[in-house]
């Protein structure tokens, strides 16, 4: 289990520098921090995006995120994990999700970062609705390749500790 685990769902923006500092403050056993930031793009399926609204299932989100973080901590010797997912209305350029994973070595930090974002995309109850510049809107469809990316982890044996 990660020694420092922070999970948050929020409407406010996240500050990567603040989160990095919190994750590593006073720690000198961390040698590697992997991170992933997902942001809103200004086009989708060839159409210009004006905004995106993220909905979630609060009671389940909390459980799902805690479960995903715990799974990562079982696979890799993590010293800290931060997962922040935003909800509500976002515009192009806004951050959607932040994953940080700290470990003594890079393979664990980057492996856990990839694992966490793959699972966030397929195992956490968030839904995106896109609002286009042309006035139309659409719910984002789940992508088969996301399911494949998450499922692929089941075939990867946990690394030697």
């Amino acid at each position: 289990m990660a020694e420092r685990a922070r999970v948050a769902v929020q409407t406010a923006p996240f500050d990567v520098a603040v989160e990095l500092a919190a994750l590593t403050a006073g720690r000198h056993d961390i040698g590697a921090i992997g991170s992933f930031v997902g942001t809103v793009r200004d086009s989708a399926g060839g159409r210009r995006l004006a905004a995106m609204v993220l909905e979630h299932y609060p009671a389940m989100t909390e459980r799902a995120l805690a479960g995903i973080v715990a799974q990562a901590g079982q696979r890799w010797p993590l010293l800290g994990v931060t997962v922040i997912h935003r909800v509500g209305r976002l515009v192009p350029g806004d951050g959607i999700v932040l994953v940080l994973a700290a470990s003594a070595h890079r393979a664990a930090a980057l492996g856990a970062t990839g694992f966490l974002i793959d699972w966030l995309k397929t195992g956490a109850p968030f839904w995106k609705q896109e609002y286009f510049v042309d006035g139309t809107s659409a719910w984002v469809a789940a992508r088969a390749e996301d399911d494949a990316a998450a499922a692929a982890w089941a075939t990867v044996p946990p690394p030697a500790r």
């Binding site: 997902g38 993220l54 909905e55 979630h56 299932y57 009671a59 389940m60 459980r63 799902a64 997912h85 959607i96 999700v97 974002i117 966030l120 995309k121 397929t122 195992g123 956490a124 109850p125 968030f126 839904w127 995106k128 609705q129 719910w139 984002v140 469809a141 789940a142 996301d146 399911d147």
Partner: protein, 84 residues
């Protein structure tokens, strides 16, 4: 209380025009599959629940067709997730 708390998310919520409802547990309904059929049988917008991609969670955990439902449970129907 012999009631289920049923939640709908994303386009299911929009199609049904509601985010949640309380439902008396219908006689003979003991599984997710049976509850889903019961709701689909209401017709109109509830036909959306027949969409095979629709997922179900019971008490905030992903559930399959055979998962048991009991009075007091929170049952959520939703499309595949698209966060991250």
């Amino acid at each position: 209380m012999a009631e289920l708390h049923v939640l709908y998310f994303a386009w299911l919520r929009e199609r049904l025009g509601r985010a949640e409802e309380a439902l008396a547990l219908p006689a003979g309904v003991t599984t997710v599959a049976a509850l889903r059929q019961h709701l689909i049988a209401r017709g109109d917008a509830y036909a959306a629940l027949a969409e095979p991609t629709v997922r179900v969670a019971v008490n905030q955990a992903m559930a399959g067709p055979a998962t048991r439902v009991a009075p007091g449970d929170e049952i959520a129907f939703f499309p595949p997730v698209t966060g991250g």
